[in-house]
Structures are given as C-alpha cells and as structure tokens.
C-alpha cells in the first residue's frame, strides 16, 4: 500500500453510490441502512431507491397511520411529517 499512488487513484476513481448521494434531504440517507442500494446484497426488504415518489409517499403515509402492516416501518414513519416525507420520496425517486 503506497500512499502516493493511492492518492493518485483517489483523484481519478470516483465511485457513485445512491447510498451516499449528495444533497439528500434530512433523514433520507439513513434509508439505505436497511433498503439496499447495492444489487449484491441479498435481502427481502424492498428496494426503494428509484421507486416513484408517489408510491413511496403513499407507503410511508400508510405505515404511519397503521393501515399498511409492517414491522419497524410504522415506528420510523411516525418520526416524519408530510412535509419531511415529500422531499425524501422525491430524492429516492432520483436515485438508481
């Protein structure tokens, strides 16, 4: 491991990742802790990055009011207002 050569690599190799994407609205970056952005991660938890904002907002709202059954999402959704959910859903739609 040579530091200087690694610096050179660092200067050219920018890897994009939805998990860490820029300008995520408050709370949005945390979603990928459970909802995988990496296709290699084997999980039954639904992929949400790239889904339509309308679908995400509908699901979050339904989790929050209890009309959509789930495990942890109801309790997480209760931590977000409508005004906070909207930009998160719009941002998620833009992610690959």
């Amino acid at each position: 491991m040579k530091l200087l050569s690694a610096m050179a690599v660092a200067a050219v190799a920018a890897v994009s990742s939805a998990a860490f994407a820029a300008d995520a609205p408050p709370g949005a970056a945390a979603c990928s802790g459970c909802h995988a952005t990496n296709a290699g991660a084997e999980t039954p938890v639904p992929k949400i990055h790239g889904k339509s904002a309308a679908d995400i907002t509908a699901a979050m709202t339904a989790f929050r009011d209890g009309s959509k059954p789930g495990t942890v999402m109801g309790r997480i959704a209760k931590g977000f207002t409508d005004d906070e959910m909207k930009p998160i859903a719009a941002w998620l739609e833009q992610q690959k």
């Binding site: 408050p26 802790g33 039954p44 495990t71 942890v72």
Partner: protein, 422 residues
C-alpha cells in the same frame, strides 16, 4: 482496532513520511484533505460518503487492522450459529471507492498543526474525523485487566476474544456454570449483553442442557427488557437467570486466577466467565483532547464536530449522542450526516439540520428476532428522539413476526456491510 505487525507499520509509515516530506503540489494544494481515523461502521462510512459527496476531497482512512471484524452478529458466533469469517471484511472496496486506506496506528493528534502523528510520520489534514469506537476501561473493574481477559473474555471487541469465549463454552462439560457480568450505562450496544445471554442460553439448551447461565447486571433496566424477559421465560426457563442491580447483580471485583466474580451479595466461581467491563471512547479520542471527564466525546448535534476541539469531528460509539444508542446503524447514520456537514464546512457553507435513524435487531434464538428503532433530531444541541416515533417490536407479536424479524436481522447485516465494505 487490532494490533499490527511492526513490519507492516514500518512499510506504511515510511510511505507516510514520504508523503509528509514531499507533498505533491497538484494534489495537496487543490484538494481539501480529510483524514478519518478508525475503519469501522462509522469511519469507513464517513470516508466513502465524503468521496461520493465531493470527489475533489482527498480522503485518507487510517485503521490499525487490515481486516475489520464486525461486532453485530458476533453473539451468533459465540453461540455456535455462525463462523467468525462471516464477520470479517477487507478494505479493498473502500480503496476502490477512491479512499486512500492506510493500515497503521495513529499515536497522537497535533491539533494546532493539524496533523495525525504516527511513530515516525505525520499526515496533514484540513478536517479530521475520529471514529475510534470503544476501549475497555482496564481500571474500571478491580481485578480485571488485559491478562485477566485471556481467561475471562469480554468479547466486546469482535475477533480473537469472540473465538475464545465460544471455545470456552464448547470445551465446558455439560453441567458447568456460565456467568456473564453486564456493565452499567453507557456502553457499546445496549441490547448486546441480552442478545448474547439469549444465544448462550440457546447453546446450553441445545448442547449442554445440564448447564446454566447467570447474568449479573449492574443495572435494573435494560434495552428491549420486556421482550427479552418474556422470551427467556418462554424459551430458556431452566438455562438463564438474570440478577438485577437491586438483587445484588453488580460485580464489584473479579479474580481470574480463581475464576471468581464478587458481588455485594456473594461470590460466583463459574466454569466460563464473560466479563463485559466498563468502556470509554477509543484511545485516540483522549489523545486528541475530544473526550470529557466521562471518557466519551461531546459533539455538536448538527455537524458532529467536537465541542472541545474545532476541526475535529467524532462519530459512532465514541460520541455522547443524546438519545442515540451506541450501535452500528447509529454510526452509519451519523457518518452520512457528518460527511455532508464536513463537505459544507469545507466549502464555507452552513450544514443543514439533520434527521437520523437507528434500528437495532437482536436475536433471542435463531428464528426469533426483535428490534428497537428511533428517529432523532437536534433539540438544543442534543440528539433527541422524535416524540411518538420509535420503540420496540410489539410485546404480544405472534411467532411469525419474530421469525420475520430474525430474517430481517440477517438481511440488515448483509445490507449494511455491503454498503460500508462492499
């Protein structure tokens, strides 16, 4: 962070010395330099997030061990359900993401000159992020020191200690007594001792049915308590006994030579002793001057910048983070917020007020999972749980919900390790 060989260190530190003496102007003048010390869930996430948020930033991750061994799910290794290899990750993908990974041990921080010191080298930074995790307080429990931990493992930093505790359980004859000492708050992974107690009880029930585990606790309350205790009553009535602080559970001294744990109410001499001792922020935090008299690090709840030393940020278990527990999910969540704040601060802009999430799964048995979740935001500079949100799995959930959450627990581990190390 595990120890490294001297040869390895010299190899890397000479490269560091060269970098400090002969900086490449095109790189060092143009690009802001962020150094991250500690390559766990917090540190590796900060490093990767910085590279994605602003590829112009020169990011160096300093970590003592070439292989990371994850703590989440290491209780399943102790319980014989999982191989330690399933816990281990390299930094190859972190390097491929454009992070300069240096395997070496930082020996100090020059906060005035803004450099990270090594034995014979220095590494300059514009902003520093410390993600040092925990250190054991070797002065925190009379009789418990590094030598004692070879006989009475803590297994609270995953690796050799994890394997040692598992082997002691495997070598024990059926009928042998196991005792765990659980610490007072705060400590890494609040539900961790109780998940471990569950999976040790599961091992005893299935492999050593005449044996029993006694948990001696320095607390009366603990994380997901009702869920754990209900499950213990259902699954392990003959194999697990929990002794609370008020029932005399606090271990006040240990003697490794005689395998004795002493409480105010008596002495225990088990065949296997798992002593989870008091903890503090990893050593480099103290050397940097970012710890207070608690041994942990006060931070700004919006930027994760140290309240004590400007220009140094702290994330993960080492922080005093209000309502957020010391967990891998928390560290990852904080890392993303911290990275975004560092990018803004380097650009002379104001960081946004963040929102953070934590989710912690615990296994009570291989097919029985429970969790606690929380959503947090800064209130008067303290990370505070949003009222009405968060909480644990329902106390009265049917079996299929527990099975689903056990599946989600493993899926969470695959997902987060894939994001951070994959």
């Amino acid at each position: 962070m595990a120890r490294q060989t001297r040869r390895n260190f010299l190899k890397h530190s000479s490269a560091l010395a060269a970098a400090a003496l002969f900086p490449t102007p095109a790189l060092t003048q143009a690009a802001p330099r962020v150094v991250v010390v500690g390559g766990g869930f917090g540190g590796a996430s900060v490093a990767r997030a910085l590279r994605v948020l602003d590829p112009k930033i020169n990011v160096t991750l300093v970590e003592a061990s070439a292989t990371f061994t994850a703590c989440p799910f290491s209780n399943a290794v102790i319980g014989g359900l999982r191989d330690l290899k399933a816990q281990q990750f390299t930094y190859n993908k972190v390097r491929a993401a454009g992070v300069n990974v240096v395997i070496g041990t930082a020996t100090g921080i020059n906060t005035q000159g803004k450099t990270v010191r090594f034995v014979d080298a220095t590494l300059p930074y514009d902003r520093l992020v410390l993600a040092p995790g925990i250190d054991i307080r070797w002065d925190g429990l009379p009789g418990y020191n590094e030598a004692a931990s070879a006989k009475m493992p803590h297994a609270w930093r995953a690796g050799e200690q994890t394997t040692l505790l598992r082997k002691q359980l495997e070598d024990m004859e059926d009928g042998g007594l196991v005792v765990m000492a659980a610490p007072a708050n705060p400590f890494r992974c609040p539900p961790g001792p109780y998940e471990r107690a569950s999976l040790i009880a599961h091992y005893l029930k299935t492999k050593k049915p005449k044996s029993k585990l006694i948990v001696l606790d320095a607390k009366d309350q603990f994380s997901k308590q009702r869920l754990f205790q209900n499950a213990w009553q259902e699954l392990y009535p003959d194999h697990l006994e929990w002794v609370s602080l008020s029932k005399g559970g606090k271990v006040t001294a240990v003697d490794a030579a005689t395998m004795t744990l002493t409480t105010d109410f008596g002495k225990h001499t088990p065949k296997v002793a798992n002593v989870i001792p008091p903890q503090r922020a990893g050593r480099i935090a103290e050397l940097a001057g970012v710890t207070n008299n608690t041994g942990w690090c006060p931070i700004n709840a919006t930027t994760f910048e140290s309240s004590q030393v400007p220009g140094i940020h702290v994330v993960g278990d080492a922080t005093i983070a209000g309502g957020m527990p010391k967990s891998a999910f928390t560290a990852n969540s904080q890392a993303k917020v911290c990275a975004a704040a560092v990018v803004k601060l380097l650009a002379g802009q104001a960081p946004a007020t963040p929102k953070l999430i934590n989710t912690c799964y615990s296994l009570v048995a291989p097919d029985y999972g429970i969790e606690v979740a929380g959503v947090y935001h800064p209130v008067n500079n303290v990370l505070t749980e949003i009222p009405g949100s968060g909480g644990t799995s329902p106390v009265d959930a049917p079996k299929d919900v527990r099975e689903t959450e056990a599946i989600y627990a493993e899926a969470w581990f695959r997902t987060i390790t894939s994001e951070v190390f994959g």
